[in-house]
Assembly symmetry: C3
Homo-oligomer: 94 residues x 3
């Protein structure tokens, strides 16, 4: 009996696990979203909140020359910049 029971369990578990896992994984993954926010400040520098990365920067004075430092800080390069804004995004689960 013993071997038969083991085999019974193995098959049952295999089938059950595969089906359950795939459906749960897909449904959970479907809840993974891109969360973004804007952060602005006077002057030429602004940083995203913790956990967020900067995906782009916007600058005052129509300036399109900027760089991102340490993954989350926007720096506007033109002279006399009055404001800097960062677009900050991260992955989260809804």
């Amino acid at each position: 009996y013993h071997v038969d029971a083991q085999c019974l369990i193995d098959n049952a578990v295999d089938l059950k696990v595969q089906a359950a896992v795939s459906s749960i994984v897909s449904s959970t993954l479907a809840k993974a979203k891109l969360f973004c926010q804007n952060v602005s400040a006077r002057g030429a520098l602004v940083s995203c909140p913790g956990g967020y990365k900067a995906t782009a920067c916007s600058c005052g004075m129509a300036c399109g020359s900027w760089d991102i430092r340490s993954d989350a800080t926007c720096h506007c390069q033109c002279g006399g910049i009055d404001w800097t804004s960062a677009r900050c995004c991260k992955i989260g689960v809804e």
Copy 2:
């Protein structure tokens, strides 16, 4: 017999589940990708399609001053803007 069988099942299930789950989860997660597209329009405003978030905006007239409204709408701030383009991204599974 009853207790022994229960224990047998528990162990078998635990091992099976852990192994199967981890491999399926990792392989599914590996399929999670960043899907992006460009959307452009005449004038100073353009919105990303449903489900997408704007990660940046580009503007005509060399203008680098823009803002993102309600997560998905690009607005170019300089005067007399002829076109506006949004970079729109979301998370999907390949």
Copy 3:
């Protein structure tokens, strides 16, 4: 006996699988992160490394007019552009 054992297995497996899967999936999903880097080059064109998508472009000469080609190449449109930079992001597991 046979039917009773089958039912025993089914229930045990179902409970085990659901619990294990959900916890592993959530903990794995929590490791999914947005990985970003900057890529710069002389001139008006620069491309992200393989697997990365461009989320935005920055240009020399204060130019804010750019476009993204084939998902990963930044093109700065103003005349006489001295440098172009791409913000490149992808999804990865920490």
